[in-house]
Symmetry: D2
């Protein structure tokens, strides 16, 4: 299991008429944090795409407890619960600056061969980036 | 159980660099379809808000099978699986014009008193709009 | 000069904490209306892309007079002020259901060869779609 | 005249099927940079809102020269060309990591009294934050 924290500042555009962050934006925050998580291990979506591997989202589950508001600095805590194989699973917890848990989410991504558009195994050297933690 | 279909045309803005609709947009399509679903029963979010009742999203679950692309006409099939009480549950299935199932999603909304910001029961006349179907 | 009207229903996601539509969304509404405008003449962005012609936005000018709110039905009135050549110019006026002018915008798109990524002339048969109006 | 630079990392969600950042997102990047610009002078939108002053956008002009792509680190250079009075004008230039100019934009915001919804002067102490630079 690996856990990392990433901070994101809430934009005005991300609020809605209830005065809080619209729920759909958390899927975007999760994705931004995943990008930074992968980067911190020397991996990038962009490099995977250039190697012909796509990582589309296959499942999203989100539970909402408290809202975030404009200009809040929120922390996305990402956990990689298992070593990647044919899928890549991320758990996310979002906290506000007071340490309150705002929401939790699990996102499952599938490794897809960009040519055949079929599921494939993650590249071996990509898996190796995370191996020492499991 | 009540089921209704609503059509949505995919906007260019909703695609991403994979050439398909970004997964976070489905939460927005579901919401748009819910608005039309409620309107078809004579209820509106807007009117609920004016009566001091908010309906924030408390849970979202989405599973993705196939992508949609720019300018696709997609159909969101909404099912109300239970009579509203303290929560409002919607199931969504999204189809493309060829009738292929693109994704499914469940969204749970909570009735909240706008003054106290605490959970409340749905207004009785709001529940009555759906009663004959259950 | 050609003018056409297209209706769009404001989504909850498009509002912000001021309770009104966030200004950036009008660029998206304009784009959606342009898609429908072109379709009404038998042209589509998608078909242009398949023929190797891209139409990126090169300029946007927007002036805002009044806000739109959640669930408003707004009308985007599009005018094509000149026959397309190396660029495609659209003027947009947005009205609410009371006929009040909410904002105006001009968007200039450039025809780009998808292979060379350089400016090109619009395909002749694409220009011909609009010729009788000028 | 005051100039400040702010960095933003492009999110996957912000790309479109052309493989580049959708033009409407630049209005959001500009806004995020304005928030940070104001914060660097000890002012915040949030605090203005709490004092009953709103700052809706009244005009946006954007010109696009080159695209940004997923995961690019872009720099928004903001210039405040004049001391705020009844309006607040910002000029924006966006550069990529190679120092290439991607686009430029001017945004004009209006100070609005939240109670009367009419134009008003900026609060005197708000103007004073910028006075020494003009």
């Amino acid at each position: 299991m690996i856990t990392r924290d990433f901070d994101i500042r809430v934009r005005y555009k991300e609020t809605d008429a209830m005065g809080v962050v619209h729920h759909s934006n958390y899927a975007v925050y999760y994705e931004q944090a995943r990008t930074e998580f992968l980067r911190s291990f020397g991996a990038t979506y962009r490099e995977l795409e250039q190697r012909g591997v796509m990582l589309p989202v296959s499942e999203v589950t989100m539970k909402f407890y408290k809202p975030a508001r404009y200009d809040d600095m929120i922390t996305v805590r990402i956990t990689l619960p298992e070593l990647p194989a044919v899928r890549l699973v991320f758990d996310h917890e979002v906290y506000n600056a007071q340490g309150e848990l705002l929401n939790t989410g699990r996102v499952v991504l599938a490794y897809i061969d960009a040519t055949t558009r079929r599921p494939c195994r993650a590249p071996a050297d990509h898996i190796d980036l995370f191996r020492e933690w499991f």
